[in-house]
Symmetry: D3
Subunit: 243 residues, 6 copies
Amino acid sequence: MLLHVVNPNTTASMTEKIASAARAIAGSETEIFATQPMSGPASIEGYFDEAFAVPGMLQRVSEAEARGASGHIIACFDDTGLDAARCVARAPVVGIGEAAFHIASLIAGRFSVVTTLGRSIPIIEHNLVRYGLASRCAGVRAAEVPVLDLEKPGSNARERISQEIERAKSSDACEAIVLGCAGMADLAAELAKLHGLPVIDGVSAAVALLQSVARLGLTTSKIGGYAQPRPKAFTGMFAHLSG
Amino acid sequence: MLLHVVNPNTTASMTEKIASAARAIAGSETEIFATQPMSGPASIEGYFDEAFAVPGMLQRVSEAEARGASGHIIACFDDTGLDAARCVARAPVVGIGEAAFHIASLIAGRFSVVTTLGRSIPIIEHNLVRYGLASRCAGVRAAEVPVLDLEKPGSNARERISQEIERAKSSDACEAIVLGCAGMADLAAELAKLHGLPVIDGVSAAVALLQSVARLGLTTSKIGGYAQPRPKAFTGMFAHLSG
Amino acid sequence: MLLHVVNPNTTASMTEKIASAARAIAGSETEIFATQPMSGPASIEGYFDEAFAVPGMLQRVSEAEARGASGHIIACFDDTGLDAARCVARAPVVGIGEAAFHIASLIAGRFSVVTTLGRSIPIIEHNLVRYGLASRCAGVRAAEVPVLDLEKPGSNARERISQEIERAKSSDACEAIVLGCAGMADLAAELAKLHGLPVIDGVSAAVALLQSVARLGLTTSKIGGYAQPRPKAFTGMFAHLSG
Amino acid sequence: MLLHVVNPNTTASMTEKIASAARAIAGSETEIFATQPMSGPASIEGYFDEAFAVPGMLQRVSEAEARGASGHIIACFDDTGLDAARCVARAPVVGIGEAAFHIASLIAGRFSVVTTLGRSIPIIEHNLVRYGLASRCAGVRAAEVPVLDLEKPGSNARERISQEIERAKSSDACEAIVLGCAGMADLAAELAKLHGLPVIDGVSAAVALLQSVARLGLTTSKIGGYAQPRPKAFTGMFAHLSG
Amino acid sequence: MLLHVVNPNTTASMTEKIASAARAIAGSETEIFATQPMSGPASIEGYFDEAFAVPGMLQRVSEAEARGASGHIIACFDDTGLDAARCVARAPVVGIGEAAFHIASLIAGRFSVVTTLGRSIPIIEHNLVRYGLASRCAGVRAAEVPVLDLEKPGSNARERISQEIERAKSSDACEAIVLGCAGMADLAAELAKLHGLPVIDGVSAAVALLQSVARLGLTTSKIGGYAQPRPKAFTGMFAHLSG
Amino acid sequence: MLLHVVNPNTTASMTEKIASAARAIAGSETEIFATQPMSGPASIEGYFDEAFAVPGMLQRVSEAEARGASGHIIACFDDTGLDAARCVARAPVVGIGEAAFHIASLIAGRFSVVTTLGRSIPIIEHNLVRYGLASRCAGVRAAEVPVLDLEKPGSNARERISQEIERAKSSDACEAIVLGCAGMADLAAELAKLHGLPVIDGVSAAVALLQSVARLGLTTSKIGGYAQPRPKAFTGMFAHLSG
């Protein structure tokens, strides 16, 4: 099985970390290939960054479809461009935020999310409402750690995330924690042990879920909202999409 | 990986069909063992039958835990006794209804459910509300086929289910179909081809999902609602549970 | 009028206390008879205990129907097995949790619930969502008092419940308190006086409500989810239910 | 027990019919006295009529409090002025719409409402949302019968209501019917027999419920939204309320 | 454009303050005329006061319709009698609470409300639910300032409101503040500057919104809930409404 | 007042029609300038087209901010890129879908939406849920008219839209109609007259609303989700955004 993981930002070290986390869970029969867009922001922190990450990410999804990928993972916790990617792909597409919410719902009554910056909280809350899983979420919290600090060896990112988990445990009556950034993929196991409850990383959750969907032979529905895009004229830097 | 599938009713032919559907998706590295309760109803059609299926089913979950199962599947679409099973088990537990809803949510904006009897509709609707996925469901419909008719060669069960799928497509604006009974496991592929949209069977969905959760090393949270049962006195036919 | 109160646990002292609370409110024209299951747990604390309380409780409901009861009260605040009991009975069935929520909604804009253990909170919250009354509930709180401590003369149960009511008043903006356990039936009046707001006990609320429904000549609807169970084979310890 | 039933409109024949329905259910130990406002509309059909019914109705509630009533019933299905009445009264106050919804929720999974005119549908739907019981309601339907036609011997009101019940049964998957007007109080028993499902009349439901609340010794919470009105200056025709 | 602003209470100084706030935003092409009822309470603090404010207010709306008003503003934050006013008027009617909620939703993801007294909180919360905007509201808070204290030069009203805004900012994660009383119209600009986030006053919001609706040539729908009142007999002090 | 209207697609004739509709409502004191992106699709029909419309649209918003615009209108009914635009702009930003929903909520209890293609229905439904106004919407319907057919003189677009309005009136119990595409701006008045209920066009609604917000002196909150984008590196075709 060939799975495509696209990191929607352009920071290569983060793409590598994500690919590594994906391969760690994928097993020997699944080949993972990881991409990042040619164009876009170095990190995704809020609605503005998302807007410029999506076009380049969709191109990677198209290329991966052509290459025969059995599925696509969008490795940003905001599930950036997820709906548009489902229009492009016939193979299933899973966002890491979405994946983490679904997996958490299978092992806990309710979970809290600990993400990077406060400005991402409304995005995550909107996604939860759209997915239907808002009622399973006990709280979305920010450790106020910029995304790329997660890549810096000396930062106190891990400590601040751990403190926010502690607050979630005592205030939210949550039964599990979801880590709200692809860049936190390497922290889940350690934090689970430290805090004594399940801690879910979206990257590995998405790989495992996507393997499930692919093994089931299911593909994205092409009736309704995810129907193939209608051919039409595109202008300017997107003129190549005209069809 | 050793996975336990428990059919909460006592009809052996249905347990076999379920085991067979589970093995078909599980792959060679996963061993499936299927059980059914010693005591209980021959089929589960409504709240009353559920009540008598659960004690025997929980015993099977306990035994399978002792045998080292990496996970448990409750193979009744009502997800009979799911919460209680999560209290008993440390390994993850997935119901086939729940599994189908989560998987459908990954490949379609909204799905309809086609189940056996009208009396099961409120149960399924309640589950959807509790799981949080009611907003993803475009309708729960009954083909008015008794569960055990699915086991009878000459019944028109398949035809009535297919007709109800047709109605769901035209009336519900659904993008995928979830089959609402473990006994429909063998119909999904054929109906998907016939109707031109994804058709999801809960048994295979649950196996695939549970493999994912188990591979992620995640277990049921023991904080909150699914905490280990408190030891206490039990009386009568359940006296052996005293602890 | 003959009303049946079933305590779903097997602790006789609690059955007596419940019967006594029921008789105190019922008046002279209503005869109360109280039962408890032959089999099951000594107290109901969470999903697991519920599962083993229900079969024995349903038998008591069947027997009471045969005896001509005009209605049934399920005297556990989790409303254990309420839906299944409604399938068995033609007479109306009321759970004490449900009863307390409905009564509280008639005299206050919003109420808080104070129950025994944290593990019961998700059960109560699920019930509130299903009944539709979650929006009327300002909070479900646990005093962390095991159920049977309510039966022990020297325990500090009453004090801890009172403290939790104080917290609910100051934090939840609640206008009334619902006591979340059948074993708290004797505390309501005193706590209402102490805290200066209505305090509702489910047992008496259920008796009063059930008298209302019975006097109205209304019985459980037999269309839909509460239809008479379909006759079928039962096995093992439930073989006597085959029909 | 002395119960006050106020018909918020000024049609004496309707007040009598309501009083009669109330007495039929109340039993010999409860004295019912029925009132109607000095000022206001002859029937309540929509928001405008409600506005002019409330002041006169609140005066009746005040007078009945002074007379020692143990409770008040607002006998208009829109529950006209219910919140304001709760501010005035220390005794419990129940609206007939509200009462019917609560009682229906105890004997059926979901109910449909059949009311008089389409313009009342949004009022009833708003009430259901506020009470929290919207999820229990399968549909609010209008028979398009003006309120006072229910008082006219030769009208086809009963027939049109019966037809709408038939439509509700076939389209709404409802398990019970709530009659949506005080003037329909005399039709419930007959329609229940005809259609084979519980049919709930709000007037008798409210009497029975209010007897329950009163017997429980519960009164309207005076913390929060239903606190005693603050004394202040009133002008013009309401100058007598200054305090 | 001629706009009618009705202050539903009878305090002339407040009517003047509201008129002044309305004129300040209206611009030279819009003529504002402000009224107050002949009968009713000096301030509106809770459900009871509302009930006696509405009849007099509806008369002002009728008179203003006859005078050719292009729209009506109900200048009480509870949107007292809004639905009834829409039945009376063909011109659009906007409540200041409603207006503030809609405007806040256009410039912020979520807003908190700071109102006068705690007893108004449930009214405002009910309105938010009915309008559909409850999910946009992060909290409704009371500064515990009686309405008429806002008119008293020496009161500490402004300070207490400012403190409550501070609490909302730190606890609610709100992005804007809505002032919950017509009498706070003169404080918005100053508090916005002080607290560094948008602060919305309902009076000016309603004027601006109503100008929009009127300029669009839109009038209140006369299909459904806001249809013209049916002619009928009225009695007593409302006998003049008979038609 | 200088208002910026951006048509997110690249079809010049549609930009002109939108500008013309905007100027017709704006009045003489407001200058409207209309733009369209340099790059992107000729029409927006679904999630995929949206993704490629947003970057070019955000550039127009930035340029218009620099030019001193008092507000921005996003003239696609999907409110394409609305959240990202609010991050870029200090001036208020209003989407035409959002504007139409808010205006409709002020003159009708509930409204139905008639849009172009079925694939846009889920997008519109998601927006309604996020805005909080889903409960005010009686149905989202597609006339199955491609967007650019609205620009073609000989198409039967107008007729099909009118037919769908007829269906909405008879099936949805709606009290007003919202036209679900910027390209329908010229049809509203005529359809309102034909069908006898308010018909709201988003373009004019947005202009009128934005004038309101601007006149109120309110700007987009810069606390929370709409905070100024954090400066960071951008790559490839978006490298000019690095800061």
